[in-house]
Symmetry: C2
Subunit: 169 residues, 2 copies
């Protein structure tokens, strides 16, 4: 089932990561607050499932420092970053303690109480309605209960292991 | 739980779609072949779940013309488009009959027999391992069984309802 155009390779971690690096994606800071405390992490593995009802998927590593709080709180906000927000992406994507992460931004809330990042180009405030383990990660089904978007700023994209500010329109 | 920075809006179809338009995403032609016949559709709702084992999520509308074939075949290939492939994205995203869609590209196969598009910048050839209905769509868990990527060409991104060729690196 193969031909001369493509050399099939065993699917190694390296080949999977190299191919995923070619898949450009928006960058998000995903936040949560509630009985489990305030927590947040950087994610590109976010996608829309359906608009009836408005639902996103967010994938979260069960070893992530934010994981216990997100699960305990049962809510999250997807803050889609603007072109100028690579710095806060790095802060929430690293080993920085939670309190220091949140010191890097200005926050408000919408409906659930999950932190809403000022300057992000879209905010999806969500109730987590289902959680399914797949390998190392949990797939979170997130129903959007409040929403906000800004039409002006460029988006922050991640492609080939580098940030890019992309102007739409 | 709201403040002056953000005016919460009811989550309408329009507000959800407007906010999702701000979320830049790679564009893929997802294909399938087997007992259900050859079929394909354009998708941006693709994301990586875990690399252990290498797994993607693909979201597919149950009303899509490709749906019955994809389900019957149990395999698919995610072809991540290059910057110059907006034309084939439109062909696979519209009402074009399947035979005409495939006439718009050159195809090979990897392991599963799902069509592999020449010129795409990454190919994820997958077995569908799980299928879950969420609203109008099915969430397909797809285990990657063969992979191919090309490091040279820019990627095709969709942001603010328009195509953009994005150079990485």
């Amino acid at each position: 089932m193969t031909d001369a155009l493509h050399t099939p390779a065993a699917v190694t971690l390296t080949s999977f990561r190299d191919a995923m690096a070619r898949l450009g994606a928006a960058v998000h800071v995903v936040t949560s607050d509630g009985p489990g405390g305030r927590a947040g992490f950087t994610a590109t593995a976010v996608c829309s499932v359906t608009d009836s009802p408005p639902t996103l998927i967010v994938c979260l590593n069960r070893n992530a420092s934010a994981y216990p709080a997100v699960v305990a709180n049962g809510v999250l906000c997807v803050n889609t970053l603007a072109g100028g927000q690579a710095g806060i992406s790095n802060t929430f994507g690293g080993k920085t303690p939670m309190a220091e992460r949140f010191a890097a931004g200005t926050w408000s809330t919408l409906e659930t109480g999950a932190p809403v990042l000022e300057g992000a180009i879209a905010h999806f405030d969500c109730q987590i309605t289902e959680r399914t383990a797949v390998g190392t990660h949990d797939v979170l089904l997130c129903q959007v209960v409040a929403i906000h978007s800004d039409t002006a700023a460029p988006g922050l994209l991640y492609l080939d292991r580098a940030y890019h500010a992309l102007h739409g329109g």
